[in-house]
Subunit: 183 residues, 2 copies
């Protein structure tokens, strides 16, 4: 890209609003490209991973999980937070897949980063395709409740295109894996 200095904002100050277990809320003041100042309400997040676990016969493991902010049970691919900002995303993906579904995988492909809400959050989700699966026992946290099932990738693609899968990372990961397999 050409020089984009005319788009850049610079931090003048930062104030901590809330230091939670998941969300770290800051209220920053920035200098805009035109020299004016503005406030920025932002979330600092440790980062996360999500995984498309794909069987040899084209089935995807998905979860049904209650999402309190939406007050809905929704369909999602397995996902979870990093344990720390320094954790290797692939190690986190292996852990989350094993804990949530009991599955381990011999083949992992990174699908790149995903910024769910770049306007107000620094969360990065690393997306993975997991293949050559081995099925074992779930190891859910004691406050984690979810149901796991398998759905053909083609069915998920149809559901995404019909607007029936609202979860962002699931929409994207399903379409990416499908697109990568098109001739």
């Amino acid at each position: 890209m050409s020089n984009e200095a005319h788009l850049i904002e610079t931090q003048l100050s930062t104030r901590e609003i809330f230091d939670g277990k998941i969300l770290h809320v800051k209220l920053d003041t920035v200098r805009l490209p035109n020299g004016a100042t503005a406030s920025r309400e932002i979330i600092r997040h440790v980062g996360a991973v999500c995984i498309i676990p794909l069987t040899a016969d084209g089935q995807v493991l998905v979860e049904r999980q209650f999402r309190y902010p939406m007050n809905e049970v929704i369909t999602e691919i397995p996902a979870g937070k990093l344990d720390s900002p320094d954790e290797d995303p692939l190690a986190a993906a292996r852990r989350e897949l094993r804990e949530e579904t009991g599955v381990t995988a011999d083949k992992w492909t990174c699908l790149g980063p995903f910024y769910p809400a770049a306007a107000y959050s620094d969360e990065r989700i690393w997306m993975y395709l997991a293949e050559q699966l081995h099925f074992g026992q779930q190891e859910l946290d004691e406050d984690e409740f979810l149901g796991v099932s398998t759905v053909p990738l083609q069915t998920l693609v149809r559901q995404v295109l019909a607007g029936e899968i609202p979860d962002a990372k699931t929409q994207t990961a399903v379409l990416r894996v499908w697109a990568l397999r098109q001739p």
Copy 2:
């Protein structure tokens, strides 16, 4: 789906942490399916829209925009917040497209809802495909800085699949429009 009452959490209390211009942060206490209690850190958000503006010859209007939380200039499709929770998303999409790019469109197709961060935010983004475009003048807010250009849909698809477009809504909308046009 079958009865999923065994997944549901119910609100016991809610406390306001921060009432900002964009982010409204709450710390709720919930009853888990097993009867235990847990805290939930959540963002209340007014909702948003995003738009794929597609020309007759297969070009997409995209923006280069600095995203302060990521400290990066990234490529995104046009998007913006609703003016109020009750605003018609299509009206918001027409407004945001006109203000950010100067474009109006005769044909609008809703691509359904998108939950960017259902684990901790109630934000819903309504996705639209805009076609039959007419080009006019940008009307940016005085604190809004972005560059608009056109990119072939096929190029965007390739960039998404290569992991070069980290923005969530842009990844998904590009792949959805592309998938809907496959034979």
